[in-house]
Amino acid sequence: MRGFRLGLGGELALERDRERRWIAAVVGALAFLATLALGLALALAGTAQRWQSSFEGTLTAEIPAGGDAAAALRVLRAEPGVARAELLARAKAEALLAPWLGAGNLADLPIPALIDVKLREKVRVDVPGLRTRLAAAVPGATLDDHSGWLAGFLALARAATIVASIVVVAVALAAASCVAFATRAGLAMHREAVDLLHLVGAEDRYIAGQFAHAAMRLAFAGASAGALGAAAVLAVAHSVASTAQSLAVPLPALGAWDWAALAAVPLAATVVAAAAAYATVMRNLGRIL
């Protein structure tokens, strides 16, 4: 109908406040940090989990150069829990060492033989006992169940997850404080209009809803931009690292669910901003008639 032009921000027209637009910038910067921290933690945790799964149920026996690999294979294959034990071809072993020692420098080196051992599922293997029998059969032979360095990596991934969680909580608190501050300023700026709304019968929640809606839109815009920026940084970093990769270990990478979790950051920021604005208005209006 002619004449009606009420904006998205309701009667208070909060969308017209230039002073409030810095909410989007601050929430955007905070969302950038949160997304980056969360992305790194998820990538590390996912990689740790993948490594743990891939190494679970496997052992690697290392036979010193010149050692009796056949004897070692006999010992290993005699173990009931071992499903398969295969000697790694020298070419494969050289390929594993090439990144560190250089492809052309391996021919004359005394490279130890490696035996890849696959264990049977649901059959318990006495790894220390097997290790002792292997060393007795082939002096100098070792048996690695990967638990040592994997434990270190898992601890790193856990630490990264804890740090990221702390960062995300701190960022959420900072965003909520920023929105609360801006909302208090907005209430003061629109005091006359707020009083008028009260006098014509508006409930506090009606007024709080307008502030929450305005904060929600600003936070969503800012947080979306911030999260997109962080996602771009993560993607570029992974791409650069993949190009330059020469290690034989997989790079930390984000899976589909990880990206979905990162996409939730702007939504969470929006909810935090709306809740902070709503609670601030309700608390402050409760102090006046």
Binding site: R2, F4, R5, E11, E192, L196, H198, L199, E203, L289
Partner: protein, 222 residues
């Protein structure tokens, strides 16, 4: 409808601006509130439209003691009161019709009804061709009529007007008074604060007179 008993009002630690004010307004009555500038008219009106609570005494509105009413119940009481403020208090960034629609919108009334009623009321006050205008583009008299339309759109039981003829010429003042008379005939209790004694003398309605914060003339004692 309205009962004031030994009401006193002070701002902060200042002196009382209203002292021992007692009166009663029956439903459907029409009263003028008079007094010199600073006599306490606006303060008394602010108690009537529930912008304040008295420092002492009791105020009963619609059968409820507003000095004891819970905060959550205030919006419901305020919706039964229409107020025409001396300075209009129109929201400059909203169109005329959106300003008038305000009391219905805050109640969550169906938007189609809001639009119909707001347009009808603006036509009733002679501003049917100004629906989309912004308040700063209107004259004082036009703003006054917008404020009146906003005050009555919620069909209030009590209509309060603070110097409604103070900013308009005599012709518009007469027209506005006819509007108030018409509303009163429809059953609305009306209180008009004015310093225009000629207006009061020409009217058949009783007068509440404030002098230095005390009521010196009233139609009925509480």
């Amino acid at each position: 409808m309205v009962i004031f008993q030994q009401v006193g009002l002070r701002y902060g630690l200042g002196p009382e601006v209203l002292r021992d004010v007692s009166f009663r307004l029956d439903p459907g009555s029409f009263h003028f509130l008079t007094g010199a500038s600073g006599a306490g008219k606006s303060s008394l009106l602010s108690l009537l439209y529930l912008a304040r609570v008295p420092s002492r005494g009791t105020v009963h509105l619609f059968g409820r003691d507003v000095t004891r009413v819970a905060r959550v119940d205030l919006p419901g009481l305020r919706r039964r009161i229409g107020t025409v403020f001396q300075d209009f208090r129109l929201l400059d960034h909203l169109s005329v019709v959106d300003n008038v629609a305000l009391p219905l919108r805050v109640q969550g009334t169906d938007e189609r009804q809001v639009r119909e009623h707001a347009a009808e009321l603006l036509a009733w006050v002679g501003l049917g061709d100004h629906l989309g205008a912004l308040p700063p583009t209107l004259s004082g008299g036009q703003k006054q009529r917008v404020a009146i339309a906003r005050a009555v759109i919620g069909r209030p039981q009590l209509l309060i007007a603070d110097e409604p003829t103070g900013n308009v010429d005599d012709r518009i003042a007469v027209r506005l008074m006819r509007l108030f008379e018409e509303l009163n005939r429809l059953g609305t209790t009306i209180v008009i604060a004015t310093h225009n004694l000629q207006l009061v003398r020409e009217s058949r309605h009783p007068e509440l007179r404030l002098d230095g914060g005390a009521l010196t003339r009233h139609a009925k004692a509480a």
